[in-house]
């Protein structure tokens, strides 16, 4: 289903957040530049991140109408995904072993992961190719902080949190229709799976964006992202063969939302699937770090 992917077309052309304002923050007086020990380093990164948050809030609030309109756009696309499956379920009552409200639960879950990912990482990573093209990455490499940290987390897209809340509402309603009240243990596992899902999205997206060290523009990367991550909201029962194996063990898109949704819907056959999600999360993260370092080694500044 490629309804949301085209949306990526303008994602980069839109915000115009291409400036590197947050960088100045690392020179902020309250942020110490020395790293005496691990604890101190953690505290330093935490205070850096807090400063970036503050900066993002100020930025968003200076374009209020735009902020609200973007939330509306995301809601509209969310409704679109739901209506697609509503139409499908008006002609059938199951896709594999997935019933209608279980699929609604799945779409809500996948939307939640995607929106949290969008809030924390998406804008930053899509800007990577722009940073490379303009040579602004030079500045970041010179900063006395981890470059991956600053590239990945510079900006927070607050609208993503609002949309994640709308996903929670949908998940809640689907659970109500399924007559399920999850216990505390389930909630905890679900939350952990959400964290793993966001990290998987992030690692894969960084790998995808690293391609722009060689070629390919940002628009195409965002487009690729939407095409790839669209798969996450399809019920896993629809797939078989190579496609299923590939998107489970190589690019774990069929785990990210399907496993937590099955957990809540009580259709998870074995807890091993949850372990698999955690495992794939670690693998993706490590691979993305290797890919990132490899790409950085090949960085030759563009302009300056």
């Amino acid at each position: 289903m490629d309804h949301e992917d085209i949306k990526g077309r303008g994602e980069v052309a839109t915000g115009g957040h291409g400036d590197i304002r947050p960088i100045a923050l690392s020179l902020h007086p309250q942020v110490s530049l020395v790293t005496p020990c691990l604890g101190g380093s953690l505290r330093r990164y935490a205070s850096l991140y807090a400063a970036m948050w503050k900066n993002s809030v100020v930025r968003e609030m200076s374009f209020k109408t735009n902020f609200l309109l973007w939330i509306f756009v995301e809601l509209l696309w969310f409704a679109l995904q739901l209506s697609f499956f509503a139409v499908i379920y008006s002609h059938t009552d199951h896709i594999g072993d997935w019933t209608k409200w279980q699929v609604v639960l799945l779409i809500g879950t996948s939307h939640f992961v995607q929106q949290i990912f969008q809030a924390l990482f998406l804008t930053n990573i899509t800007q990577l190719s722009e940073l490379i093209r303009t040579g602004k990455l030079d500045f970041m490499l010179l900063l006395p902080v981890n470059t991956r940290f600053i590239v990945s987390l510079r900006q927070v897209d607050l609208g993503g949190f609002v949309n994640a809340a709308s996903a929670l509402v949908v998940i809640g309603y689907a659970l109500h229709r399924l007559d399920i009240t999850p216990g505390m243990g389930q909630f905890a596992c679900f939350a952990l799976l959400m964290v793993a899902g966001v990290l998987i999205h992030y690692s894969l997206m960084l790998l995808l964006a690293s391609i722009s060290f060689w070629t390919v523009r940002a628009q195409s990367i965002v487009w690729g992202y939407y095409s790839l991550f669209n798969i996450a909201r399809f019920p896993d029962a629809a797939f078989s063969g190579f496609f299923k194996v590939f998107f489970t063990f190589a690019v774990p898109m069929l785990l990210v939302a399907n496993v937590p949704a099955r957990l809540l819907a009580h259709t998870l056959t074995t807890p091993a699937r949850m372990v698999l999600v955690a495992l794939m999360c670690v693998v993706c993260f490590v691979v993305s770090e290797i890919g990132w370092r490899f790409a950085l080694k090949h960085y030759t500044s563009a302009s300056s």
């Binding site: 052309a13 374009f63 002609h91 790839l228």
Partner: protein, 266 residues
Amino acid sequence: MRKYLHVLNIGIQNQLVYRVNFLFRACFGLLPLIAMISVWRTIYSGQSNDVGGYTLSQMISYYLVVTLVDMLTAVNEDDWQIAADIKDGNISQFLVKPIDYMRYRLCLFFAGRTIYTVVAIVPVAIFFFVQRQYLVLPGDAATFGWFALSIVMTALLQFFSAYAMALLAFWVLEVSTFIFILFAFEYLAGGHLFPLDILPPALANVLNYTPFPYQLYFPVSIYVGRTSGAALYQGLLTQFIWVVLAYLFARFMWARGIRKYSAVGG
């Protein structure tokens, strides 16, 4: 006329720069298509009756032909570029040159689609070949001809409506949200997600009074044989009327916008 041929030529050369991007897009675009086909296959294997009168082959063909028409006619980055031209003041030069901006953009649009198609045809053709057992062909040559004619009108309709939307940049600073909102409706009501005639008849009827089905669904429905006979001619006429209306609207937007234009940064 010769100057527009030059524009076309330059446009093609410019677009060639992005061939890797196009290939990247075309390949990734196949993923959701595969997912969609898998979902329908699973549904058909789980029940004995057809969905809305579509056999499995017809349903899969529908999505394959959607991909084909989309490849040939979808507006890619034209609307963003037009909006940027207005915002940055680049259109000032067109006001003093003997070049019509709309025809200029139309040439660039055709150039972009040509190069995109040349690049994307490779992965798309491979995919069609893999799915060939499901691909139904139009009943006769005439159907194919009407299909081709309808694709041309679809491309024009896509372009004129995108152009008119982009001209909103004369009035508002940030047009992308408006473009996305319209695009969301087009996606659903244009038939990207599912064939419109599997909707409840009342809803499908309402949609027929909007331009959206003519931006994608209509040519595809000709191909898979869902529109034929009197409905075909009536549909082609309606599509033609929408193209003319969109053209006039785009001209109107330009005429109004240019009065508002203040050549920022020109």
